[in-house]
């Protein structure tokens, strides 16, 4: 170190975790812990408000006490317990998990393509899942809940695989080819989906539309468990791969010069991103804009390094969806707006703002 006097300012940018035992080290931006804490507090408050609000109001304090089951002597405990544990807590928890999943998926896509306007559905996840879901609901007219998520999941993966395959040219798939072929294939699939909706039974079509907009209505703990398990597999993987996204962000040539196997890492990251998005879509339909907006706002808060960006985006996406779900339940009560409609209403203006800000790039 040449000059000790400068060293303090240089060290200030990030926090390093480097335990004495074992060969492990990790670093993230120093803003990460504080921002993460802020989002967690916001989420918890929103969660309590959201559970407390509804046709059957529960005082916030009783909400907290019911969650921890410490108010069993309360006169309304049986009702509280039913409303909190069976109806509201699972759907809100699911909203949080779905938001997390979409945000991380979107952050990865934006990193891979070096395009801040990319989202989790870039590789046709929403189109593929929608086509599959509409096929099941409108065409096959199967109403048992079990099949729909799996069909949507399969549709998402098949479409993503097809786009990646079509974009492959001479041992590589450049981001721009992925984007263009993604748009093309998505349009074709969208057209087929529309045709199905046009000629479907009106009740089925209405049900399909709710699914297409994305909703966490009527979801239960089973959904939470399935998506939670999915997240436990892919979230740590995504976070550990954040470093690869940082290197890829310098451009393919610089990344190759640093010894990164760019094509392989891009492929792996794409698998993680698509797997996450497909998981979210399978349980909640195609909720838009969370995957675009959450990584974006988070980048402003904690900087562009993915070690911190991925986990904080996850928290932000989760918080955003919990809030959107609350707004959806409140806005036209006693009816309910699907959460996908609310995210679109929050997200679309932000998207326009982004385009406006990026107009000179």
């Amino acid at each position: 170190m040449a000059s000790e006097s400068h060293a303090h300012s240089v060290r200030g940018t990030w926090v390093t975790i480097r335990p004495r035992w074992g060969r492990f080290s990790y670093r993230f931006d120093k803003r990460v812990p504080l921002v993460a804490l802020g989002i967690v507090i916001f989420t918890l408050v929103t969660l309590v408000v959201s559970i407390s609000y509804g046709e059957y109001d529960i005082p916030p304090l009783e909400v907290v006490r019911t969650i921890f089951n410490v108010n069993q002597d309360h006169a309304d405990y049986a009702n509280y317990r039913l409303v909190v544990h069976t109806f509201r807590l699972p759907r809100i928890t699911l909203a949080f998990l779905v938001g997390m999943t979409l945000a991380v998926s979107g952050a990865i896509m934006q990193g891979i393509t070096r395009n801040p306007l990319a989202d989790p559905y870039l590789l046709g996840v929403s189109g593929g899942a929608s086509l599959a879901a509409v096929t099941v609901i409108v065409w096959l007219r199967i109403t048992t809940a079990g099949l729909l998520p799996w069909a949507a999941f399969a549709g998402a993966l098949i479409t993503a695989g097809a786009i990646y395959g079509l974009a492959w040219k001479r041992g590589s798939s450049t981001p721009i080819r992925l984007i263009l072929i993604g748009i093309a294939l998505e349009s074709v699939i969208g057209a087929v989906t529309t045709v199905m909706l046009l000629f479907g039974n009106i009740n089925d079509v209405q049900q399909a539309y709710v699914w297409l907009t994305g909703s966490v209505y009527g979801r239960n703990w089973e959904h939470v468990q399935v998506l939670g398990a999915w997240l436990i597999v892919f979230m740590p993987m995504a976070t550990l791969m954040g470093r690869e996204l940082n290197t890829m962000g310098l451009g393919d040539d610089a990344a190759k010069g640093l010894g990164q196997r760019v094509e392989r890492q891009r492929g792996l990251l794409m698998v993680v991103s698509v797997a996450l998005a497909a998981g979210a879509v399978a349980v909640a339909g195609t909720i838009g804009f969370v995957g675009l907006v959450a990584p974006h706002v988070t980048r402003r808060l904690v900087g562009p390094s993915h070690e911190g960006l991925l986990p904080v985006s996850a928290l932000f996406g989760g918080a955003l969806l919990v809030l959107a779900d609350l707004i959806g339940r409140w806005a036209i009560a006693p009816s309910e707006l699907p959460v996908g409609v609310v995210t679109a209403m929050i997200g679309a203006p932000y998207f326009i703002y982004l385009l406006y800000r990026n107009r000179n790039r």
């Binding site: 040449a2 390093t16 480097r18 040539d253 010069g257 900087g303 562009p304 390094s305």
Partner: protein, 284 residues
């Protein structure tokens, strides 16, 4: 067998062949400049020897091993490449950029060792950019930005550093600054430097070894003072010139003749009565 060699190297984009059956030995521990006119293949050659472009034929050998058979990170520990005009993501700080140079020394679980920290600090110090280490790269001047990228390549800690036009798009003062820095890295840190340079005079001044490329072949190579002749400049660049000793370093200084030098002195070129607008102005 230590050193960096190209054997019967043929490089092509799609089917357009750029470099044909080329042999080259890069002198270790020296500064080598690749020069030549636009489109001669000098940048392609650099991409070929840095594994950015897979050869159609032939091999590139580093320390006795084919660079395409080495694990990518192993190669990156020995050979760094700075591409032309690289772009850092918006908001990325200088410190974070330089830290990226440690990529080949890291793994999924070992993402930021004490050694990584030490080498990064050293790279910041060597390139004199500690003062703006916390600033986003996109807010820096062109010269500072290039220093930051060079620091990243330094943090990679490779013996060989390849650079594609490191001075392009920089103001003259920054061009000299960057070239001085590379020269110091060679002399003080024993780095082998290979760079594509646009300006022949810069190449003559800073390079120990000069490789002139023309139409995908090596037209001449050797010590600049022996290689750079009026005939070579005419044949490779298609420019008539005089070569005089650089008054500062005594290396060859290429002075192009051009069309202005062949015509009459300037006073007699424009006569007032031949330029009606000026004649009128004088009358008025």
């Amino acid at each position: 067998m230590t050193g960096l060699y190209a054997n019967e190297l043929t490089l092509a984009y799609d089917d357009a062949s750029i470099i044909h059956n080329l042999r080259l030995a890069i002198p270790m521990g020296q500064v080598t400049a690749l020069v030549g006119p636009n489109g001669c293949g000098k940048s392609t050659l650099l991409r070929g020897i840095s594994r950015l472009l897979k050869p159609k034929h032939g091999t590139v050998i580093l320390d006795g091993q084919d660079i395409w058979k080495l694990p990518t990170k192993e190669l990156a520990k020995r050979l760094g490449i700075l591409p032309q005009s690289p772009v850092a993501p918006e908001g990325l700080t200088v410190h974070e950029l330089v830290a990226q140079g440690r990529y080949p020394h890291q793994s999924w679980l070992q993402q930021w060792s004490a050694e990584d920290e030490r080498v990064t600090q050293e790279a910041l110090a060597i390139t004199h950019i500690e003062d703006f280490a916390d600033r986003p790269v996109d807010t820096l001047s062109g010269g500072q930005r290039q220093r930051a990228w060079i620091a990243m390549t330094l943090a990679q800690d490779s013996e060989v550093i390849l650079l594609d036009e490191p001075t392009t798009f920089l103001d003259l003062a920054y061009q000299i600054d960057v070239l001085d820095l590379l020269y110091e890295l060679n002399r003080q840190r024993k780095k082998t430097i290979v760079m594509v340079v646009h300006d022949l005079n810069h190449a003559c001044r800073y390079a120990d070894y000069l490789v002139a490329v023309k139409e995908g072949q090596i037209a001449a190579q050797g010590i600049p003072s022996e290689v750079v002749t009026e005939r070579l400049v005419r044949e490779v660049f298609g420019v008539e010139c005089l070569i005089i000793p650089d008054p500062v370093t005594a290396t060859p200084l290429v002075v192009p003749v051009g069309r202005t030098g062949k015509t009459q002195p300037k006073e007699t070129v424009y006569k007032a009565d031949e330029r009606p607008d000026e004649a009128e102005r004088e009358i008025a």
